[in-house]
C-alpha cells in the first residue's frame, strides 16, 4: 500500500513539476506548483512527518502560492509565446546542465546507500506535533525567536520596497 501511494505521489509530483516548467501561462504554472506541493505533502505523510505535511499545505500551498497568484494576476502578464517555438542553443545547454547535475546526484546517492547505518525503527512518533514542539521550544528556542525577527524584518522590507513612489530613472547626461 505504501509502495503504491509512493509511486502515485512521485509520478504526480514529477509530472506537475514538468508541467510547471513547460507551461506558457504563469497562472497555470502557479497552479501546477500547488499540485506539486500537495503531492509532496503526501510524501511527507508517508515519511511519518505529519506536522510538516500540514505545514506544507497551510504555508506553502495556502499562503505563499496565494501570494504568487496575487502578484501574477496583479501584473497581468502576457503569455510567453516564443517559449519552445524555435530551437535555441540555450535550451540545449540548460538541458545538458540539468542532466549533468542529475547524474552526479544519482551517482552519489547510489554510492551512499551502502554506507548508511541500519537504524532500528525506535522512534515511529518522530514527526508528530508533540515531538516537534518538544524540541522546538527547548533546544531550538533561540533560532525560533531569530526566525520571528527575520519574518518581521522581511515584511517591513517588502513594504518599503513595494510602496516606493514611482520615480522614473532620469539620466541627466541624455
Amino acid at each position: 500500500m505504501i509502495t503504491f501511494s509512493f509511486i502515485f505521489l512521485a509520478v504526480l509530483a514529477v509530472a506537475s513539476a514538468l508541467a510547471m516548467v513547460i507551461n506558457k501561462n504563469a497562472v497555470n504554472s502557479a497552479l501546477f506548483l500547488v499540485l506539486n506541493m500537495i503531492a509532496l505533502s503526501g510524501v511527507y505523510l508517508l515519511l511519518k512527518a505529519q506536522f510538516l505535511a500540514i505545514i506544507q499545505v497551510l504555508v506553502y500551498a495556502g499562503a505563499i502560492m496565494v501570494l504568487f497568484l496575487f502578484v501574477v494576476m496583479l501584473l497581468n502578464l502576457e503569455n510567453e509565446e516564443q517559449l519552445f517555438s524555435k530551437f535555441r542553443i540555450k535550451y540545449f545547454v540548460a538541458f545538458l546542465l540539468g542532466v549533468g547535475v542529475f547524474s552526479q546526484l544519482i551517482y552519489s546517492i547510489g554510492s551512499l546507500t551502502d554506507t548508511l547505518p541500519v537504524v532500528a525503527e525506535q522512534m515511529t512518533q518522530a514527526g508528530t506535533v508533540e515531538a516537534i514542539g518538544d524540541v522546538l521550544y527547548t533546544k531550538y528556542s533561540l533560532p525560533f525567536h531569530i526566525i520571528a525577527m527575520l519574518l518581521t524584518a522581511a515584511v517591513n522590507g517588502a513594504l518599503m520596497v513595494a510602496q516606493h513612489k514611482t520615480k522614473p530613472v532620469t539620466d541627466e547626461n541624455d
Binding site: M20, Y60, A94, I106, L116, T124, G127
Partner: protein, 100 residues
Amino acid sequence: MISIDWYLALSAILFCIGIVGVLIRKNAIVIFMCVELMLNAVNLSLISFSSHYGNVDGQILVFFALAVAAAEAVVGLAIIIAIFRNNLSVDISRVNLLRW
C-alpha cells in the same frame, strides 16, 4: 517499506527540474517558482534522512527553511513588483541596466 534511496531519487529529480526551469524560463515569477521547487526538493531529502534515522532535528531544520522561504518569497515578490513598475515587464532579458 520503501528504502531511503527512492525518496532521495525523487528529490534529485525535482531539484534538476527546478534547475532546468531556472535556466530556460524568462519570466521572473516563474523562475522564482522554480526556486521554490528546488527548496521543496531539498526539504524532501532532509525529511527522508530525518525519518531514516528517527531523529527529529532534520524536521526542525525543514521548519526553519520553510520560514526563511516565506520571508524570501515576500521580499522577492516585492522586488519583482518594483522592477515591473520601472520597466513594465518582468522579462529578465529586458532587465539589463547593469549588464556590460
